[in-house]
Subunit: 277 residues, 4 copies
């Protein structure tokens, strides 16, 4: 049986090398259905990200990149996505992601291009009393779009502490607290840095979180959170107010997911506002 197939393989050998390899993707499609988004998802690559202090940080990014495809073309050319992503020598900033979208649009001859980049970003953070320093990780997302118009969205997710106002109010002592994940996504004008959004987010929770806390620091954050109780509703409202007054921000979506310490499910709230309307 093996012999038979090997014979056939020999028969066909060379086929495909003597002639130019067919471009199946470029062939005509008869179904008449345009595709909104097609491309690569969860492509991992190292990127360099510029901090507000002009320092480069190398990050491991998860990249999704899509183009629109007209009804009459059968497929896109996936390898070109990876090539375009690697052409840029400069560090990634939100604004520079648009340039990649435009390069992909032209290289793939597409009407629309979408680029989503997600990565973990570190900030060296000082403990509030002792000043002990440790890295804290934030989740960053950049979404760029090039079509008839451009679009750009920067998103920061920061861990924080929330302490329940109701629990504090009704209890003789104590109040349940928990870690929460607070996200701010913005469309903006001018310069807006990851660090700016981190600071805004952290100012809206019961307390920021830290990597190193010595005893005086732990005392400080415990008391601060107790003095500063916040429902998940309070966190997103305070964040909405803060972004409402930031003139660089023209659109925002804020959300908070609180990993309630008294439940096995989470509390969640979300506000979306377009200041241009």
């Amino acid at each position: 049986m093996k012999d038979r197939r090997e014979l056939l393989a020999i028969l066909t050998r060379g086929y495909g090398t003597r002639q130019r390899l067919v471009d199946v993707q470029a062939s005509q499609d008869e179904r008449g259905v345009g595709i909104d988004r097609v491309g690569i998802k969860d492509f991992r690559m190292p990127i360099r990200v510029l901090s507000r202090d002009d320092i480069e940080q190398q990050c491991a990014a998860a990249v999704d990149m899509y183009v629109s495809l007209p009804p009459d073309v059968r497929g896109t050319h996936m390898s070109r996505f990876v090539e375009v992503l690697q052409e840029r020598e400069e560090p990634f900033t939100a604004a520079r992601c648009l340039a990649i979208c435009h390069a992909a649009k032209s290289r793939l001859n597409a009407a629309e291009t979408h680029l989503d980049v997600e990565f973990e970003y570190f900030v060296q953070k000082e403990a509030p009393m002792t000043g002990a320093v440790g890295p804290l990780n934030y989740r960053i997302g950049i979404s760029a779009y090039a079509g008839i118009t451009d679009d750009l969205l920067l998103s920061v997710t920061a861990p924080a502490t929330s302490l329940c106002p109701c629990s504090k109010e009704i209890s003789r002592y104590g109040a349940h607290s928990q870690r929460c994940q607070v996200q701010a996504s913005v469309r903006f004008e001018g310069d807006l840095w990851i660090e700016d959004l981190i600071e805004t987010i952290e100012s809206c929770a019961s307390s920021p979180v830290y990597s190193v806390l010595k005893r005086p620091d732990e005392k400080h954050v415990t008391e601060k959170a107790y003095e500063n109780p916040k429902f998940v509703e309070d966190i997103v409202r305070d964040l909405a107010v803060a972004l409402q007054t930031d003139d660089r921000v023209v659109w925002f979506a804020v959300k908070s997911e609180n990993f309630e310490s008294i439940h096995n499910h989470n509390a969640y709230a979300e506000i979306v506002r377009d200041k241009r309307e």
Copy 2:
């Protein structure tokens, strides 16, 4: 030190029990910011789901349920969400999720309610040649909304096989294949069952996948996939064509994520169409 705090605790004992516990959530909010969505996220509960054959299947659901909150109210009442979810005695169907939304809307006095339910659903599936039977798991999502109008969305994600047409065409033998996750989300009129969407999805890939495959079955699916090569673009286009011609479907979003066996990243495509436009 202990003594001092215990003294204070004794001082305050009874406080909060002699009087009605304050409803902090119901207090007035001064920030003037309405909240789009607030509620519970990733709440787990057992639900019973009705199959097309009128058989009940118990599933473990992850439930998100949100209401809108007017600018002047400080907080929602999270425990009522869980109470409303438990009131329904009937099995879950897409249509009955709307009833829960309406109950929550009235119980929480909200302008809008969102309900997202996700669960794993099993179908006993026969191997194509030997008929050997095994359970196959699908990911189901139901999104219901009650506001000024209602909205309802059913979503099925099915695993399948894709085999690359380009790889087949240019190679002397073989063609790379991989598992893919294909999703169809629909707004619909009349009766549309989970099983209906599963069948539609599976007919659009290179081959369905199975839990039990004996040798004659494995031969069959290998050859079928080879005879039926599909780009990620082909899968979503064929699925779009199928849903376009299903009169029950008034809106659809289809996507496929293919876990390419020759890459460490995935191929992805997506089409969204509103047939009412």
Copy 3:
């Protein structure tokens, strides 16, 4: 080009059907390397689990099942794993998983069989003051092994509240609390139910968590946790003491992972004891 391959396909048609399909797995292996574990991983199937109150609960299980393979056999027969798993009509209990292991051992002619079953299990739980009822989800694991001897391990992971003793002690008011995941894995003799382990675990944290908490309940759990502060070390120690005194338990491993509300990392502790030593 198409024509050529189609021609070849026609040439080979029927090949493999006229004759018995070769059992490649059963062929001789020359490398002389035995395999410790080979089989299926993350196979999903619905199972029925018997509760302590003799009620059946249908759960969605993730199943890993492996056999050992002698040096001279090339491959195992994966489809038989799924067949064996489906043969059992009775509900799953820890003890009955061993029967499946023995069936697989004999069916696959193996020296050793491993079976790992993981699923989400629900308990209807009453709030501590109002008695309001809601489902709470626990993660259950059963590991069975059949070789020269048998082995059986039951594992329960329960969410709970931990409140930091240091934070309470050094702060003027408040104390940070957080959700934690506490796991007890045991080897045992006689009858030991999932519900038994849940109760033991929950008695060792600062407070259990609940799905529905009305205001008097929230006051109760807040105060209870504050009165009952526990380091991650305290939780595993108290759990170790409890299992040490449970005569059914002959071996245990306990761990707790606390999702600290003041950090973005977790606190973790683990104790393993063999009472037979």
Copy 4:
């Protein structure tokens, strides 16, 4: 009510600041239960990793670090873990992780220390025919232990292609293939680099995977995988043979998880060998 608590807060103000903050962790424990492992889990920090070519790569690591705790001490000092992790200026290599373990052992006055570091590592990889270059991501783990003796384990998980020998043998054409994750964990003597293990792993699958594949490359990898079919059993056996003959390796564990394209579950195999026995 607010007034009353604020009054109490004023009463207690200063308490805890006039005096040294109590070290609750250092207090005596009466339960008589030693703890095997206690520390921090999923702590994220940027690390620099030295490549075989002596180039530094910045990676985002997830770090678990534990110590053993004697029966009479109530708690460990978690903040010191983070401090010790940050003291090292040199890039991370497997060997240097041991130095961190020893520093932690002495700083925390522990009998045993465990350090587990996991991160994504990139290699610029050339396509097999065109030489087109793209980054490929691998999952690296380093486990270090310092107790009475030392221990060190390096683990590399690489994506690869597997093509089923049975499917190829019994089918008229084609053969199902899929992405797999192959892991080699080793204890070793002398110099052994991440890149060494990557090369060994990739030589044992049906084909490596790549980030950029132009058409001639795709033809090459398709045909190579078809010519080189491997069961999950073959992959771990070939890897075991390769590590058996590598004199630097004194112990190894190899596993492969294949995301079968014809099933929704995975095939898995594992071999562990201690060459010192």
